[in-house]
Symmetry: C2
Subunit: 127 residues, 2 copies
């Protein structure tokens, strides 16, 4: 053993600069303590998973223009009803959109959270 080691994680041989800065932040334990909790990470990754599909991003971009009923979204995307319904369900579950029945139709609009993300998506048009 390297008994004169002043670092907490002496059991793990490391590159010098990593070891030094790791020590400065409290070693493995200190680093671990700074990380977001698993519940938060799970929620955040679920949000990203809802955004991880081109069709769904396109739906958000459409709804950023204006609220729309399912049949218009379908006309723009040119996909089957059930497929669209599936993707709308994913976005709804992620709290990015909300639907309100109006007579024979259901009109979907962005939630506040959906607005924020749609903005980010549409803004990116340049890069």
């Amino acid at each position: 053993m390297a008994e004169d080691k002043k670092y907490q994680d002496a059991s793990l041989p490391l590159p010098p600069d990593v070891e030094e800065s790791l020590c400065r932040c409290g070693g493995i334990a200190g680093l671990t303590g700074q990380l977001p909790g698993d519940d938060l990470l799970k929620r955040e990754s679920a949000l990203f998973r809802a955004l991880a599909d081109p069709l769904r991003l396109k739906i958000l971009a459409m709804l950023a223009v204006q609220p729309l009923c399912v049949c218009v979204i379908k006309a723009v995307l040119g996909i089957a009803d059930s497929k669209l319904s599936y993707h709308l369900g994913v976005l709804k579950k992620a709290n990015l959109i909300a639907g309100e029945a109006q007579g024979n139709w259901i009109i979907y609009r962005l939630t506040a959270e959906g607005e924020a993300w749609a903005q980010q998506i549409v803004d990116d048009n340049g890069s």
Copy 2:
């Protein structure tokens, strides 16, 4: 362009307010024209897919504290080498992290894009 029709998409029966605002933005065609291109949507959704996993978000949060070699990341996460390597590969391919060999180790750090996302993830600690 010269049309007698008041609405471009008269074939599609719509709720009144959707029809009106849809007309104001140029009908189905006008709306379609405002949307981001498929190539951009694909790139953006690929980025979100890379972020759509709690382990990977945790890795980004770790690297927001400091650059780290694989063995430290592994010690914090407590997962198998090959599994970690897979997730590092996903993040690397999405251009969120980059690895630099240093002797026997590979030290990973956030890219500029990775920094921005890691910030967003860590900032969310309250909500």
